[in-house]
Symmetry: C2
Subunit: 103 residues, 2 copies
Protein backbone atom coordinates (compact mmCIF):
# COMPACT_ATOMS: atom_id res chain seq x y z
CA UNK A 1 0.00 0.00 0.00
CA UNK A 2 1.21 3.48 -0.83
CA UNK A 3 -0.27 6.91 -0.29
CA UNK A 4 -0.69 9.24 -3.24
CA UNK A 5 0.21 12.22 -1.04
CA UNK A 6 3.43 10.70 0.30
CA UNK A 7 6.95 11.67 -0.73
CA UNK A 8 6.10 15.18 -1.86
CA UNK A 9 9.18 17.35 -1.41
CA UNK A 10 8.78 20.73 0.29
CA UNK A 11 10.37 22.49 -2.69
CA UNK A 12 9.09 21.68 -6.17
CA UNK A 13 11.25 23.66 -8.61
CA UNK A 14 10.16 21.39 -11.48
CA UNK A 15 7.04 19.31 -11.96
CA UNK A 16 7.43 15.72 -10.82
CA UNK A 17 6.19 12.91 -13.08
CA UNK A 18 6.14 9.39 -11.63
CA UNK A 19 4.71 6.18 -13.00
CA UNK A 20 2.60 4.34 -10.45
CA UNK A 21 1.66 1.51 -12.78
CA UNK A 22 2.77 0.74 -16.30
CA UNK A 23 1.15 -2.07 -18.25
CA UNK A 24 0.40 -2.66 -21.92
CA UNK A 25 -3.07 -1.20 -21.64
CA UNK A 26 -2.79 1.35 -18.87
CA UNK A 27 -0.27 3.72 -17.40
CA UNK A 28 -1.02 5.49 -14.13
CA UNK A 29 1.04 8.57 -13.43
CA UNK A 30 1.26 10.91 -10.46
CA UNK A 31 2.10 14.48 -11.37
CA UNK A 32 2.98 17.01 -8.69
CA UNK A 33 3.00 20.70 -9.64
CA UNK A 34 3.48 23.88 -7.67
CA UNK A 35 2.96 26.98 -9.72
CA UNK A 36 4.24 25.44 -12.96
CA UNK A 37 2.43 25.56 -16.26
CA UNK A 38 3.14 23.94 -19.62
CA UNK A 39 5.93 25.52 -21.67
CA UNK A 40 4.64 28.53 -23.62
CA UNK A 41 5.92 27.01 -26.80
CA UNK A 42 3.83 23.93 -26.96
CA UNK A 43 0.66 21.97 -26.58
CA UNK A 44 0.36 18.43 -25.30
CA UNK A 45 -0.58 16.33 -28.34
CA UNK A 46 -0.81 12.82 -26.97
CA UNK A 47 -1.13 9.48 -28.71
CA UNK A 48 -3.07 8.05 -25.78
CA UNK A 49 -6.32 9.05 -24.14
CA UNK A 50 -5.86 10.64 -20.72
CA UNK A 51 -8.28 10.54 -17.83
CA UNK A 52 -7.11 12.94 -15.15
CA UNK A 53 -8.30 13.90 -11.66
CA UNK A 54 -6.95 16.58 -9.33
CA UNK A 55 -6.51 15.27 -5.78
CA UNK A 56 -5.13 18.38 -4.12
CA UNK A 57 -4.50 22.00 -5.14
CA UNK A 58 -5.85 23.09 -8.48
CA UNK A 59 -4.88 23.27 -12.11
CA UNK A 60 -6.30 25.14 -15.07
CA UNK A 61 -6.23 23.51 -18.49
CA UNK A 62 -6.64 25.30 -21.80
CA UNK A 63 -7.68 23.53 -24.98
CA UNK A 64 -6.60 24.57 -28.43
CA UNK A 65 -10.17 25.71 -29.21
CA UNK A 66 -9.85 28.28 -26.41
CA UNK A 67 -11.88 26.43 -23.77
CA UNK A 68 -10.47 26.68 -20.27
CA UNK A 69 -11.29 24.31 -17.46
CA UNK A 70 -10.37 24.85 -13.82
CA UNK A 71 -9.90 21.56 -11.97
CA UNK A 72 -10.12 21.64 -8.18
CA UNK A 73 -9.96 18.79 -5.69
CA UNK A 74 -11.96 15.83 -7.00
CA UNK A 75 -12.59 17.28 -10.46
CA UNK A 76 -11.87 14.93 -13.33
CA UNK A 77 -11.72 15.17 -17.08
CA UNK A 78 -11.32 12.77 -19.99
CA UNK A 79 -9.00 14.11 -22.68
CA UNK A 80 -9.06 12.09 -25.85
CA UNK A 81 -5.87 11.38 -27.80
CA UNK A 82 -4.66 14.28 -29.94
CA UNK A 83 -6.95 16.83 -28.32
CA UNK A 84 -4.33 19.51 -27.86
CA UNK A 85 -4.21 21.07 -24.42
CA UNK A 86 -1.88 22.68 -21.93
CA UNK A 87 -1.78 23.55 -18.26
CA UNK A 88 -1.97 27.30 -17.88
CA UNK A 89 -1.85 27.55 -14.08
CA UNK A 90 -1.40 25.47 -10.94
CA UNK A 91 -1.63 26.44 -7.29
CA UNK A 92 1.33 28.33 -5.90
CA UNK A 93 0.05 27.82 -2.33
CA UNK A 94 0.12 24.06 -2.11
CA UNK A 95 1.21 21.13 -4.26
CA UNK A 96 -1.26 20.14 -6.96
CA UNK A 97 -1.45 16.35 -7.13
CA UNK A 98 -2.80 14.99 -10.41
CA UNK A 99 -3.63 11.35 -10.97
CA UNK A 100 -3.44 10.73 -14.72
CA UNK A 101 -4.45 7.53 -16.48
CA UNK A 102 -3.18 7.01 -20.00
CA UNK A 103 -5.14 4.36 -21.82
CA UNK B 1 -15.82 18.13 -16.01
CA UNK B 2 -17.31 16.24 -13.11
CA UNK B 3 -16.39 16.02 -9.43
CA UNK B 4 -15.79 12.62 -7.88
CA UNK B 5 -17.43 13.79 -4.64
CA UNK B 6 -20.61 15.07 -6.31
CA UNK B 7 -23.98 13.36 -6.24
CA UNK B 8 -23.43 11.45 -3.02
CA UNK B 9 -26.80 10.90 -1.36
CA UNK B 10 -27.12 11.66 2.35
CA UNK B 11 -28.40 8.14 3.03
CA UNK B 12 -26.46 5.20 1.59
CA UNK B 13 -28.39 2.05 2.51
CA UNK B 14 -26.57 0.08 -0.18
CA UNK B 15 -23.17 0.57 -1.75
CA UNK B 16 -23.28 2.59 -4.96
CA UNK B 17 -21.31 1.36 -7.97
CA UNK B 18 -21.06 3.69 -10.97
CA UNK B 19 -19.01 3.45 -14.14
CA UNK B 20 -17.15 6.66 -14.90
CA UNK B 21 -15.48 5.31 -18.02
CA UNK B 22 -15.86 2.02 -19.82
CA UNK B 23 -13.59 1.13 -22.71
CA UNK B 24 -12.14 -2.11 -24.04
CA UNK B 25 -8.99 -1.81 -21.97
CA UNK B 26 -10.08 0.11 -18.92
CA UNK B 27 -13.07 0.56 -16.72
CA UNK B 28 -13.13 3.30 -14.10
CA UNK B 29 -15.66 2.86 -11.33
CA UNK B 30 -16.67 5.04 -8.41
CA UNK B 31 -17.80 3.10 -5.37
CA UNK B 32 -19.46 4.85 -2.44
CA UNK B 33 -19.80 2.95 0.82
CA UNK B 34 -21.00 3.89 4.28
CA UNK B 35 -20.56 1.15 6.81
CA UNK B 36 -21.05 -1.66 4.33
CA UNK B 37 -18.74 -4.63 3.93
CA UNK B 38 -18.65 -7.49 1.43
CA UNK B 39 -21.21 -10.24 1.96
CA UNK B 40 -20.01 -12.73 4.57
CA UNK B 41 -20.54 -15.52 2.14
CA UNK B 42 -18.08 -14.56 -0.49
CA UNK B 43 -14.80 -13.25 -1.75
CA UNK B 44 -14.27 -11.05 -4.76
CA UNK B 45 -12.56 -13.27 -7.34
CA UNK B 46 -12.11 -10.98 -10.32
CA UNK B 47 -11.06 -11.70 -13.88
CA UNK B 48 -9.49 -8.26 -14.18
CA UNK B 49 -6.72 -6.52 -12.27
CA UNK B 50 -7.96 -3.77 -10.00
CA UNK B 51 -6.07 -0.66 -8.95
CA UNK B 52 -7.97 1.09 -6.21
CA UNK B 53 -7.53 4.32 -4.23
CA UNK B 54 -9.60 5.64 -1.33
CA UNK B 55 -10.45 9.33 -1.77
CA UNK B 56 -12.49 9.88 1.38
CA UNK B 57 -13.40 7.86 4.46
CA UNK B 58 -11.64 4.54 4.92
CA UNK B 59 -12.00 0.91 4.01
CA UNK B 60 -10.37 -2.23 5.31
CA UNK B 61 -9.64 -5.05 2.89
CA UNK B 62 -8.92 -8.65 3.85
CA UNK B 63 -7.13 -11.06 1.56
CA UNK B 64 -7.71 -14.80 1.52
CA UNK B 65 -4.25 -15.37 3.02
CA UNK B 66 -5.37 -13.44 6.10
CA UNK B 67 -3.60 -10.17 5.34
CA UNK B 68 -5.60 -7.08 6.20
CA UNK B 69 -4.96 -3.64 4.76
CA UNK B 70 -6.55 -0.43 6.02
CA UNK B 71 -6.92 2.16 3.27
CA UNK B 72 -7.34 5.77 4.31
CA UNK B 73 -7.56 8.91 2.19
CA UNK B 74 -5.01 8.71 -0.61
CA UNK B 75 -3.97 5.10 0.02
CA UNK B 76 -3.89 2.91 -3.05
CA UNK B 77 -3.42 -0.75 -3.78
CA UNK B 78 -3.02 -2.92 -6.86
CA UNK B 79 -5.01 -6.15 -6.64
CA UNK B 80 -4.13 -8.63 -9.34
CA UNK B 81 -6.85 -10.70 -11.02
CA UNK B 82 -8.04 -13.69 -9.01
CA UNK B 83 -6.40 -12.53 -5.79
CA UNK B 84 -9.38 -13.17 -3.55
CA UNK B 85 -10.29 -10.33 -1.25
CA UNK B 86 -13.19 -8.70 0.52
CA UNK B 87 -14.01 -5.45 2.22
CA UNK B 88 -14.39 -6.06 5.95
CA UNK B 89 -15.19 -2.52 7.09
CA UNK B 90 -15.89 0.98 5.80
CA UNK B 91 -16.41 4.22 7.68
CA UNK B 92 -19.80 4.66 9.32
CA UNK B 93 -19.09 8.37 9.95
CA UNK B 94 -18.69 9.59 6.38
CA UNK B 95 -19.00 8.19 2.87
CA UNK B 96 -16.03 6.21 1.69
CA UNK B 97 -15.31 7.09 -1.93
CA UNK B 98 -13.25 4.49 -3.81
CA UNK B 99 -11.88 5.06 -7.29
CA UNK B 100 -11.36 1.64 -8.83
CA UNK B 101 -9.65 0.95 -12.15
CA UNK B 102 -10.23 -2.44 -13.75
CA UNK B 103 -7.65 -3.21 -16.39
Amino acid sequence: MTNIFSNIPSEIPNEIFEDILNTNNLRIERIVSKGQSSPDTGWYDQNENEWVIVLSGYGEIEFINGDKVMLKQGDYLDIKAHVKHKVIATSTEEPTVWLALFY
